[in-house]
Subunit: 203 residues, 2 copies
């Protein structure tokens, strides 16, 4: 839509980046706010104080609200880039066998989310309702996951009585488990993913 065409970037990824402010001071504050917010969210989770963020960014609270009318918007601005990068990384996996590729991507996804509980709570807190919050992240998620799932289903290694929404919901639920040990999360994910393996229709 705007002139941000990096030609190799699919349409789904450009939606948000275009919304940055144009005036020099505005852009400066915008960046400072995002940096401060990233720190604050990492430290205090989703409910970090917005006034505290404005303070850290050395910016008036009014400025924060002008750039980001609500907490979700700010959270989204902080994380879109990372999430989209994560999704794009699915491309690496095309050379693995279908099952391995699909599962590897999901493990990667969970490992990342586990380090950002703040993000996980919000991004996965509204997987399909609230249409336009984290919209671009969800779009990217689907764009990345759908081919992997389809390939695995066509290869008859993933059961066919399910779909990407369900898988993402399941995996998202696991990502949100507040566990001390990353290996434990991985183990749990492994179990759940075993449930996705293809089974003969009979039973």
């Amino acid at each position: 839509m705007s002139a941000t065409d990096t030609s190799d970037t699919p349409a789904a990824f450009t939606d948000l980046a275009a919304a940055r402010p144009k005036r020099a001071d505005a852009l400066r504050n915008y960046e400072k706010l995002i940096a401060a917010a990233r720190d604050a969210f990492a430290q205090d989770g989703t409910s970090a104080s917005l006034e505290e963020i404005a303070r850290r960014a050395q910016v008036g609270i009014g400025t924060l609200y002008r750039h980001f009318p609500n907490r979700q918007t700010l959270l989204e601005a902080v994380y879109v880039d990372e999430v989209e990068a994560l999704c794009r990384s699915a491309a690496d996996l095309s050379e693995l066998p279908p099952w391995d590729a699909f599962v590897a991507w999901l493990h990667r996804f969970v490992a990342y989310m586990a380090t950002k509980q703040a993000l996980a709570q919000e991004l996965l807190g509204c997987v399909d309702r609230d249409a336009n919050v984290f919209q671009s992240c969800r779009t990217a998620l689907y764009a990345a996951g759908e081919p992997l799932l389809q390939r695995a289903q066509q290869a008859r290694v993933v059961r066919t009585d399910t779909n990407l929404l369900e898988v993402i919901q399941m995996v998202g639920g696991i990502a949100k488990i507040p566990s001390t040990e990353p290996e434990q999360i991985d183990h749990i994910l492994g179990i759940a993913l075993d449930g996705l393996r293809y089974r003969e229709p009979s039973a």
Copy 2:
């Protein structure tokens, strides 16, 4: 410990009920607060305003804080009974085959939790840390689940490279999925539970 012995109630279940106030007015307010809190949590989730709860109960805010020094305590007081009842209901299932019994209990658990997101967030938000919050609920959960899991593992229908903590964490994660359709949650749970089925060690 105290005189609350209902003889057929296992020790794990009595810990909390004993902590009720003794004076008539105190008891009255205690009950009013719990009733008000149940409504409020159901309506607004975990973060319902405590002042609002006190207001609904027609009780001073100080009274609320005397009875329940923090939100967790109140939440716990509201839900222990229900959770413990749910756990006790595991007894019904002893006549089913091992797999069916185990799975039925977990489905019951998820179905209940799905109706009380507020509870789910908190009870499952600290499955093993924060030792004494929701302690009695966790104890009950383990007491109910352990026999079912062991039976299923001994019957070789559930894989043996896992334990109850993992299962509860996995199932808890699924319970917290904010889904519109209960059937969908059930379906997802079914997939994850398939991952628990016993597999030959080879592969």
